[in-house]
């Protein structure tokens, strides 16, 4: 077995074995990532339809069109805004729920299920349930309001421009299970003696939350702030099945925007340019996060 110099020094064997183990991964990455990126970049300079039989080179025109489309900017804005809603809910509501549930109140197993399970269900299902629940004529919410004599409060939850945005944001808050899981995992490894000492000194729940638990759970907090920002880019189903991006593009996100143009199939060059921009943004966020994490790891190792 030929060991390379570097390999021998670190006790790691050589190049050939590494290549063999990486072949299956390379096949998948080549077919689905590299080809896709190459396709999108090269097509983004063309004006072409789905069959690509009739293409003309148009330079940066597609990019100009995308960047001058107001709806594209709305979609990007909403992608980040909904992510921020999810992060805020994660840092506040999930923090509170995880801590209170960790006190093991009566029925805590059932309560964990209520808060965790919806997040592990298909998002398409959750969004569909919200859509029928908020439907204005026969939806559970409006019928419920009418039944208790508050019919005046019945609203067109998914159709009214302002309410629709709030309704979608509500779904992002509803799927809060992951942050709860991170906090719960962090709580399980926490040093309890701090809390004991604080209680002996007369601290109440509010002081414990504020001065002991909040600082102690910084690990989970970091994880949430790293894991959730990209959520907006993946939340296609949430918007697609509740408002469909409407009314008039008010709740459009990057995913629904790209889906609409990709499936209408008019100018594939246009979709490709939009996809390249969205991909660049998502990848940039990921690179910045990896970079930060890498630095933090190095600092921890020293």
């Amino acid at each position: 077995m030929a060991l390379t110099r570097q390999g021998r020094r670190s006790g790691r064997p050589g190049v050939r074995a590494a290549l063999v183990f990486l072949i299956p991964l390379a096949v998948f990455y080549g077919t689905f990532y590299l080809y896709s990126f190459w396709f999108l970049i090269s097509t983004s300079f063309l004006k072409t339809d789905i069959t690509q039989s009739n293409s003309t080179f148009v330079g940066l025109q597609n990019y100009e069109l995308v960047l001058s489309h107001d709806l594209f900017w709305t979609a990007l804005f909403n992608t980040f805004a909904f992510s921020i809603v999810a992060i805020i809910a994660g840092l506040t509501i999930a923090f509170f729920l995880a801590v209170v549930l960790a006190t093991r109140p009566r029925g805590s197993r059932f309560l964990y299920a209520i808060f965790l399970l919806p997040s592990l269900m298909p998002m398409s299902l959750v969004a569909s349930v919200f859509a029928v629940m908020l439907e204005s004529r026969f939806g559970f919410v409006n019928e419920g309001l009418r039944a208790i004599g508050l019919g005046g409060l019945a609203q067109r939850w998914l159709v009214d421009p302002t309410l629709a945005w709030g309704s979608v944001a509500m779904i992002f808050v509803y799927v809060i299970g992951l942050p709860i899981m991170y906090y719960t995992a962090d709580l399980a490894t926490m040093n309890v003696s701090l809390i004991e000492a604080a209680v002996v000194d007369g601290a109440g729940a509010r002081q414990l939350l504020r001065f002991i638990l909040y600082p102690a759970l910084s690990g989970a907090r970091r994880t949430i702030m790293t894991a959730v920002p990209l959520m907006g880019f993946r939340a296609f189903e949430i918007v697609f099945l509740s408002t469909g991006g409407g009314p008039a593009g008010r709740t459009e996100i990057a995913g629904t925007y790209l889906y609409t143009f990709a499936t209408s199939g008019t100018n594939v060059g246009y979709v490709s340019a939009a996809s390249v921009i969205v991909l660049a943004i998502a990848l940039l966020i990921a690179i910045l996060q990896l970079h930060r994490q890498h630095r933090a790891d190095r600092r921890a190792a020293q």
Partner: protein, 271 residues
């Protein structure tokens, strides 16, 4: 943690807040259950369970989702174990750099690659088959899989490698008989997560499957909706179908919750 509610007033206040929030979180669940019984009562369920909806029975959608989930889980676990092992225990020039390139693809949203995926699957002749969902799903899960497996292999000592090599074992044997068995917990976590994500996947089946008999459970929420349209009579049936479509995912998540929790909290994000 009991100490948090050492004071009685705190216990009551927190208890009330928890109770209110649990009530709010249950509204969608109650809504689906309540609406599923409107107009025709339990007949809504009987109809969905006995008659095909939009050209497919509900059992077939369960089966389709399961087949896709199994294929997806098998491929991701296999490819990620091999690659994770290589990234952790083997050496190649630029290996770390390559690893970051692989992991950064975690950020690629499926919606951004719809058109190229369509082209690739079409030229491979795979459209409208289970593979049209399994293969792109695998590609999209692989960055996470590699991350999880490499982290796990990193936690296993390198000593076994050297010891086995001195005894004349090949790298393939060291992997197969030493490290892979030790990595079983991580592989199981990853496999269960893959099954769960497969059951959640909506976009890929929606795009690449048009044959009604290949409909998956998660995409049925949309095909059933178009088929049942919003007449009062159908609202009950549609809600009943939503409840029934939740069942396989629910069973899976409850049965595999330990693995899902471990996979998502310990393995995924490196602390």
């Amino acid at each position: 943690m009991k100490l948090l509610v050492a004071r009685r007033s705190d216990a009551i206040l927190l208890g009330v807040m928890l109770f209110v929030m649990a009530g709010l979180w249950m509204v969608p669940i109650i809504s689906a259950l309540n609406r599923s019984l409107v107009f025709n009562g339990t007949d809504n369920y009987v109809k969905i369970l006995t008659e095909p909806t939009a050209g497919v029975t509900i059992y077939q959608t369960y089966l389709n989702s399961s087949i896709i989930a199994a294929g997806h889980a098998f491929l991701v676990v296999t490819v990620s174990s091999l690659a994770g092992f290589a990234f952790s225990k083997l050496w190649l020039p630029g290996m770390n750099w390559l690893y970051y390139v692989v992991v950064v693809c975690l950020a690629v949203p499926a919606t951004a690659v719809i058109v190229p995926l369509f082209h690739t699957l079409k030229s491979l002749g795979l459209l409208d088959s289970y593979w049209a969902v399994i293969l792109p799903e695998t590609a999209l899960t692989l960055p996470f899989g590699v991350l999880l497996m490499r982290n796990y292999f990193d936690s296993l000592p390198n000593d076994y490698m050297e010891a086995a090599m001195i005894d004349g074992a090949s790298i393939r044997q060291v992997f197969r008989f030493v490290y892979l068995p030790m990595a079983r917990p991580a592989a199981i976590n990853l496999g269960v997560l893959c099954v769960m994500w497969s059951f959640q996947d909506f976009l890929l089946p929606l795009l690449f499957i048009t044959k009604p008999e290949l409909t998956t459970a998660s995409m049925a929420v949309s095909t059933f909706k178009q088929y049942l349209s919003f007449t009062p009579d159908n609202i009950g049936k549609y809600n009943a179908s939503l409840v029934l479509l939740a069942i396989p995912a629910l069973i899976l998540v409850i049965a595999g919750q330990r693995f899902i929790r471990q996979g998502l909290t310990s393995g995924g994000i490196k602390e």
